[in-house]
């Protein structure tokens, strides 16, 4: 019998009042893969991530982590399995990089020695060892993005959620971020990654799901998606536009 997926999302549903954000979304994420969640603006990517992170309670649908019921919105201990890297920079500018890492490590329940080890590892991964004791307010946008990423991974979560982590990042920092993610993948970390940039998904993701208007339109490896869309060998952007259309999305 095959091992259950790391995370199984089954018929997840979420609405903001009358507006449905996610409708019966079903997908699963395997251990050790980088799973891409792609979609135009307003497709429901962030809502899906927020439900998995426990920031929103989906009224319908179910989630399982390694085969066990998973309810992060209502069960604090379930949230320990998740590392959340929000789209916005979630840092305290007045604190140093090390103090930020230490604080969030404490919230994750790490004791002082574990925090110190995790902080050193995070600083190395973010390339910020030399700036560890500088206040974040003195950092560039790219440095902040890198720190934002490693804070989410401090407690070595089962699943790391990255919501559009490369927005507003220069090419050098973006490249560093990709290298960091590949390092994490080599360490066996499982990552859920949302992005607008198809080339990022093409480069990083083992499998992707394309989401539009709250529904999963397709799910598989980039090659499988191209095959399914009737454009074998095409890149992800071509497949994406074929599946979601060329109409502008403003919300």
């Amino acid at each position: 019998m095959a091992a259950p997926p790391l995370l199984a999302v089954d018929a997840l549903h979420y609405a903001y009042g009358e507006r449905i954000a996610v409708e019966s979304a079903t997908f699963s994420i395997r251990e050790g893969e980088i799973f891409g969640l792609l979609g135009p603006n307003g497709a429901g990517k962030s809502t899906t991530i927020r439900c998995i992170a426990g920031l929103q309670l989906a009224p319908r649908g179910a989630m399982h982590l390694r085969g066990q019921p998973f309810a992060p919105a209502s069960t604090p201990s379930d949230r320990a399995s998740i590392g959340n890297v929000p789209q916005e920079l979630a840092l305290y500018d007045e604190l140093t990089a090390r103090e930020n890492l230490d604080f969030f490590g404490e919230l994750q329940g790490l004791d002082a020695p574990a925090r110190a080890r995790a902080s050193e590892r995070g600083l190395a991964l973010a390339g910020l060892v030399d700036r560890a004791d500088d206040r974040v307010t003195t950092f560039s946008g790219g440095m902040k993005r890198r720190l934002n990423l490693v804070i989410g991974d401090l407690h070595a979560p089962a699943l790391l959620l990255l919501d559009e982590p490369t927005v507003g990042v220069d090419p050098q920092s973006r490249n560093h971020l990709f290298e960091s993610l590949e390092t994490l993948r080599r360490e066996g970390r499982t990552i859920l990654y949302t992005t607008h940039y198809m080339e990022e998904a093409q480069r990083l993701c083992d499998r992707v799901a394309i989401l539009d208007a709250g529904r999963i339109l397709a799910c598989g490896t980039p090659a499988e998606l191209a095959q399914g869309a009737g454009t074998p060998g095409a890149d992800l952007e071509t497949v994406f536009l074929k599946l979601t259309g060329r109409r502008l999305r403003d919300s």
Binding site: L55, L57, P76, A90, Y92, E94, L107, Q108
Partner: protein, 449 residues
């Protein structure tokens, strides 16, 4: 334990962030001290020189029970600057009870109409009154002096002028055999002068204000002492430092409470800043009870508030001789009750508001209104404002906080005192209601949307 551990971690982080902004921190702590100093010194300067603000409460006991004393009491009740107690429909209070209440700081001025009052008036002599007073309540005494003088002139009628002239002549050392002629001469002269003034006033009425008479520069009490003989007897709680005035004690506690509210609302607004700076999702996604975020902010605000109070009352003790350690346990209890209530107020504002701007706007409005109505700027508690104002005053947090501090610093009360217990109960009641509401709003606005 998990909740407390996480709440403490959040509070520590907030304190670290707070102390990083040294300029902001210095302003936060210095501003209350500057305001307290300015208000305190101004009150010190102006105390005893103020005009009538409203009515002052005067307790009266009639030991004569003659027609004349009853007329005098009725005239006192008519005086615009007085609220006479007991009221006409209340039971009389005897001298012993008044003395006890004065000693306890429960009341501040009592007038004794002595036995023989009516007989003296019948003999065309000025009767002697006895005013039991708190000597540091100078502003109220101005109002009382005016009211007593009005009542005396109204009650004694034309005989009063004769008796007054006789008294003045006696004081001037005029021999008795000269007085009758001098009085007749004075009457004629005064009548002529009065006529001249009346004619001038009739011609100029409404055109311009009359020139200030030289007598106006005399203190009301000095003048009253000349026309109505009053023996003063002072009552002051033994613990009260001599340097202190009521207004000064009021300034320290009133401005202190107001600034504490501003400071702690700002601290509580850290909750909104977490949301606006994007760190809130990370806190909400942490494996801890969500309430830890709110309690962390609560602990942070409490710590800053405690520090502010230490500085504020330390400053008051050093500069204004405020005796903060007279009743240390009661002082700590009052500080804790005020801190909890003000912090809960801050949390309520922060949990209600959707943005920092909303919180700042609402809190500024509410704090300024509560400060004005609750007597933080001016001691409304010392006077007798109209009933709607009294009700509004008692609906404010500032009133109960200031009353608690005044009970300690001014009236020398301790925790066994009923009025202090009432103030503390209201503060704690407010804390419970505001905290529960803040928690509910937090759950609704921040969690699971």
């Amino acid at each position: 334990m998990n909740l407390l551990r996480h709440a403490l971690a959040i509070a520590r982080k907030d304190l670290r962030v707070y102390f990083r902004d040294r300029t902001g921190m210095a302003l936060g702590f210095l501003l209350p001290l500057v305001l307290v100093a300015v208000f305190g010194f101004m009150m010190k300067l102006f105390v005893g020189q103020g005009d009538a603000f409203s009515r002052a409460t005067l307790w009266v006991t009639d030991q004569d029970r003659s027609d004349a004393s009853r007329d005098f009491l009725a005239a006192l009740r008519q005086a615009e600057t007085l609220k006479v107690r007991p009221a006409a429909d209340e039971s009389p209070v005897d001298e012993t009870k008044l003395r006890q209440d004065l000693t306890d700081g429960e009341l501040h001025h009592a007038l004794l109409i002595p036995a023989g009052f009516g007989a003296k008036i019948a003999a065309h002599e000025l009767p002697e009154l006895r005013l039991l007073r708190d000597p540091d309540r100078a502003i109220e005494e101005q109002l009382i002096s005016i009211g007593v003088m009005q009542a005396a002139i109204g009650t004694l009628g034309p005989d009063f002028a004769d008796a007054l002239t006789t008294r003045m002549l006696e004081r001037a050392g005029i021999p008795a055999e000269w007085r009758t002629r001098t009085q007749a001469l004075a009457k004629g002269f005064a009548g002529s002068v009065r006529l001249l003034f009346e004619e001038r006033d009739a011609a100029e009425r409404g055109a311009e204000q009359p020139a200030e008479e030289p007598e106006a520069k005399l203190g009301v009490n000095d003048f009253l002492g000349q026309v109505v003989p009053i023996v003063h007897e002072d009552f002051r709680p033994p613990e009260r430092p001599k340097q202190m005035t009521y207004m000064l004690a009021h300034s320290v506690s009133g401005i202190g409470v107001m600034m504490l509210m501003f400071g702690l609302v700002a601290c509580a607004s850290q909750l909104l800043r977490e949301r606006e700076s994007g760190t809130l999702p990370r806190l909400l996604a942490a494996p801890m009870p969500r309430g830890a975020i709110l309690w962390g902010k609560y602990l942070f605000a409490l710590a800053i508030g405690a520090l502010q109070l230490v500085l504020l009352f330390g400053f008051g003790a050093i500069v204004f001789q405020l005796d903060v350690l007279r009743a240390p346990v009661a002082f700590l209890v009052v500080c804790l009750a005020v801190l909890l209530a003000v912090t809960s107020f801050g949390m309520l504002i922060a949990a209600w508001a959707a943005t920092t701007k909303q919180a700042e706007g609402l809190s500024t409005l509410v704090i300024l209104v509560m400060s004005a109505v609750g007597g933080a700027w001016f001691p409304l508690q010392a006077f007798d404002p109209p009933m709607p104002v009294q009700i509004a005053m008692r609906c404010t947090l500032t009133h109960w906080a200031i009353s608690s501090y005044q009970a300690l610093f001014w009236y020398g009360q301790d925790l066994s005192n009923g009025s202090l217990q009432l103030s503390l109960s209201v503060l704690l009641g407010f804390t419970v209601v505001a905290t529960i509401t803040a928690r509910w709003l937090f759950e609704r606005r921040y969690v699971g949307r």
